[in-house]
């Protein structure tokens, strides 16, 4: 309190980057300075205007904070938009699984009640729902995407979906033929649209069609979206649902008029299923013409020749008979899945729970372990190679050390690709090093060393590439250690080694820490060098991530692998903080 009174306004004492601003807050602070001698009482210190001093101070500092925020705002926004948001989106993909429920909404709902342990194909009602979903997906050409997605979980589903997608619009043809035989009106698009369509929509649609005819080709006014007739969904639920889907797809995807198109065969399947239902559907709520159309059909349906949907599917592809296919669809029905993460750690998700991947598909744990191990080795060799260099640099006169520092930085000025390729030239079996060894008769010509396309090659090349990241923080920390410490230690009786180990080394630990964190984090996510010189035994998890991003297009798995990598780095960082203390990290 007394210091406040004697040393003037606190805010003005605080360092500000800008003198003009200093003056501005100085004005503010002068108002909030407590009158002399008034602050020695108890309770919160009050400013001159009677408000708590803390509050006044906060207000005075707010402008300063706001200004700082505005200064960083462009970068912040840039980073948010181009970096944080894409990463968040990518991470979200590791659990996102809406494609199944979006593409097969009826099926996923129906499968929820299915007993997956029955050992057989799902019953007709589920297959019917699947048929409606599939025909819609096939019309939208989304069934192949879904097939690709499910293929990650069970090989073969992709081709199953592709094959079936071509055939599914024939499912129900049997019923189509029989309904037409009963009443040729069923063949007419008009019959359907009058039965299903809302009268208001019908009128609007007719107007739109007339307008379109009159306008000719350049007409681009959107058609009024199809609406179901009230009551029809209650009377014929499946038919109404299937027809509505048909009408919408006809309008949106094909840009045709549903009033002029004959419905898909599966709509007839739905109609048959609705009419064959027990108890018989109640048409009382429908208008007289509709009743007149439906009553004869309802009467004739029990005598219809039927066909089991299961047979149709098996005929399309006998793999459908395998309940595993249906189990996979069911297992991946939810909107969010842990499947990608399980796959990332060599597990798989089944309807019965989590189980290990088959042995020949277990690869990711090995890659994670290898990535961690090799990053540690690279980090270790960087410390071993970098420490003496940095020590030398920091003890040389400025001119010499600057020159040598340029040599250290030289790799930075060369393209990463060139450096890596240079290592290929040096290390390959017909390369420079092997040639010299053979020439010097150190190794036999037929026993040339394998130094590239394996772990050794990756470690050598990456140590070289990451070495500057170790040397620079080490150098800048060592530069700040005054030589008088070692001199003092020696004058106190320490040998050269003791002086180094007990006095110099502990003070260089922050540099080692910073270098290790830098090198390790860079190494763990390194991609290009392991890709080029790693062969099969020296590749990292990042290479697998890149493969899934660019080749297999399994972004969900790539995202899950990336998330795990990020989590591992954060955990190691946390461990490091606990063991060494992040305060002990210094970049100079």
């Amino acid at each position: 309190m007394s210091t406040l009174n004697s040393s003037g306004p606190q805010t003005a004492d605080a360092p500000t980057p800008d003198d003009a601003f200093h003056e501005a807050t100085g004005l503010d602070a002068r108002e909030s300075q407590p009158p002399h001698g008034s602050g020695d009482g108890d309770g919160p210190v009050l400013a001159a205007d009677g408000r708590p001093l803390k509050q006044s101070l906060k207000r005075a500092l707010r402008a300063q904070k706001l200004r700082a925020l505005m200064l960083i705002a462009p970068l912040l926004i840039f980073v948010l938009v181009t970096f944080i948001a894409p990463i968040a989106d990518m991470l979200f993909r590791s659990v996102e699984n809406q494609i199944v429920s979006d593409t097969l909404p009826r099926t996923t709902q129906a499968l929820a009640g299915w007993d997956e342990d029955s050992g057989a194909m799902p019953p007709d009602n589920i297959l019917a729902a699947f048929t409606y979903d599939m025909v819609a997906a096939a019309e939208r050409k989304e069934h192949t995407r879904l097939g690709t997605r499910l293929n990650y979980e069970m090989t073969g589903i992709s081709s199953l979906f592709r094959k079936t997608g071509r055939r599914v619009d024939d499912f129900g043809e049997t019923y189509l033929d029989q309904f037409e035989a009963l009443d040729p009106a069923w063949e007419e698009a008009k019959t359907w649209v009058r039965l299903m369509g809302d009268p208001d929509w019908l009128a609007a649609n007719a107007d739109w069609a007339a307008e379109a005819d009159a306008a000719g080709r350049d007409f681009d006014k959107p058609a009024p979206p199809f609406e179901l007739k009230p009551g029809i969904a209650a009377a014929l639920p499946e038919t109404a649902d299937a027809y509505a889907e048909f009408a919408r797809i006809t309008q949106v995807e094909d840009e045709d008029n549903p009033a002029e198109e004959e419905p898909w065969a599966p709509v007839y399947l739905a109609l048959f299923r609705d009419l064959a239902k027990q108890p018989a559907p109640d048409f009382a709520a429908l208008a007289a013409p509709d009743r007149a159309l439906l009553a004869p059909a309802a009467q004739a349906v029990p005598d219809f020749e039927t066909v089991a949907l299961a047979d149709l599917y098996i005929k399309a592809d006998e793999d459908w008979a395998d309940p595993e296919v249906w189990k996979t669809i069911k297992a991946f029905s939810p909107d969010y899945t842990s499947g990608y993460f399980l796959a990332s750690v060599d597990l798989q998700k089944t309807v019965d729970g989590v189980s290990a991947q088959p042995e020949d598909r277990q690869i990711y744990m090995l890659l994670f372990k290898r990535t961690l191990f090799m990053s540690m080795v690279i980090m270790g060799s960087c410390v071993l190679l970098g420490y003496p260099i940095a020590y030398l640099l920091s003890n040389l006169p400025m001119r010499t050390s600057n020159l040598l520092l340029i040599l250290v930085l030289l790799p930075f000025w060369t393209s990463l690709l060139v450096r890596t390729s240079a290592w290929k030239v040096l290390l390959q079996q017909q390369g420079v090093i092997n040639d010299i060894l053979v020439w010097a008769h150190i190794v036999a010509d037929d026993a040339r060393l394998v130094m590239i396309n394996n772990q050794f090659g990756t470690i050598v090349a990456m140590t070289h590439i990451l070495l500057p990241f170790m040397i620079l923080p080490l150098y800048s920390v060592m530069k700040t250690i005054p030589p008088s410490y070692v001199r003092a230690a020696k004058s106190l009786g320490a040998t050269n080694w003791t002086a180094f180990w007990r006095v110099y080394f502990p003070q260089s630990v922050p540099g080692i820490g910073a270098g290790c964190i830098l090198v390790f984090i860079l190494a763990i996510g390194y991609y290009i060098t392991p890709e080029l010189v790693g062969g099969t035994t020296g590749t990292f998890i990042s290479n697998r991530i890149a493969y899934h991003i660019s080749s297999s297009l399994n972004w969900g798995l790539a995202a899950a692998l990336g998330t795990i990598l990020l989590a591992v780095v954060l955990i190691l960082y946390w461990l490091y903080d606990r063991l060494v203390g992040i305060d002990n990290v210094s970049l100079g």
Binding site: A488, A489, S491, L492, G493, A494, N496, T498
Partner: protein
Amino acid sequence: MTASTDDAFVVFDRVQKSYDGETLVVKDLNLSIGKGEFLTMLGPSGSGKTTCLMMLAGFETATHGDILLDGQPINNIPPHKRGIGMVFQNYALFPHMTVAENLAFPLEVRNIGKSEREAKVRRALDMVQMGDFGGRRPAQLSGGQQQRIALARALVFEPELVLMDEPLGALDKQLREHMQFEITRLAHNLGITTVYVTHDQTEALTMSDRVAVFDDGRIQQLAPPDELYEQPKNSFVAQFIGENNTLMGTVKEINDGVALVELDDGELIDAKPVNVAEPGERTLVSIRPERVEISKDRLSPDAHLIHAEVLEFIYMGDIYRTRLRVAGNEDFVIKTRNAPDQPRLKPGEKLEIGWLPEDCRALDA
């Protein structure tokens, strides 16, 4: 206190040092330091004093000549075997160790047992009145406290010789004066030989048994403080130590140990010839401001007086400082005690001043 080469504890014998092989930083240094002596190396920066200290500590090697410690040449002994305590300019306390660990370090490397070590550390901390600070880190201490710890650390292993390289340079004036006293007291109580390097002449004068004034790689004068101040041997020492008035002139005659000097404007003064020998030689006459007399009572009747005009009068509390124009020199300063019988001179006032011939030294020009 002057030590002969025989009973000297530290001897520099014709030592030379060059860093680049072209110029000598230390030129032909001969110096003997007696046991228990407090010797200060004083000089402007670049005069070679720190190099001498570093050679003694073993961090620099002499290009030529021998350095002897207790009769043994130590040129080839590494620093850690010399057993010399050292206090550095920036204290060089190890920041990653506590105060107690810092103090225990020299004992640890000497393989002294834990209990004895602890006892010695405690004694050393008590010696510098820092007994409660053993658990602190150096960064938690003030400059003065760090200074004490550095001192304790240099003394804890009981060396016979302690070197101090401008140890008080970073302290404020009051603390510095206090530490000057304390370092001298400790050094004398423990009876250790101390070599102290500084560029602060007050420090040198108040602390030392003898002071070696360095300039240009040579010792210009090696003498006890009073002798150094009152009888500077050459114009460099006279000007470097304390405040000094200088007048240029020519020696007219020398008889009976008193030189008659004709100043450049023709006035005649008496001076003590120090390093002038022949009449006709150019000389720089040096008089301390406080030895100039403005009343004739204390001068001999036949003393030569010289005309002066007051240019400025400064009241400094305990003394008056008056700037005069004397023989064309406008920076002639006199200091008079603030006493009732002393006049306060006014600018423009004209007067005659004089001095005892032995206070006015005719030095090399």
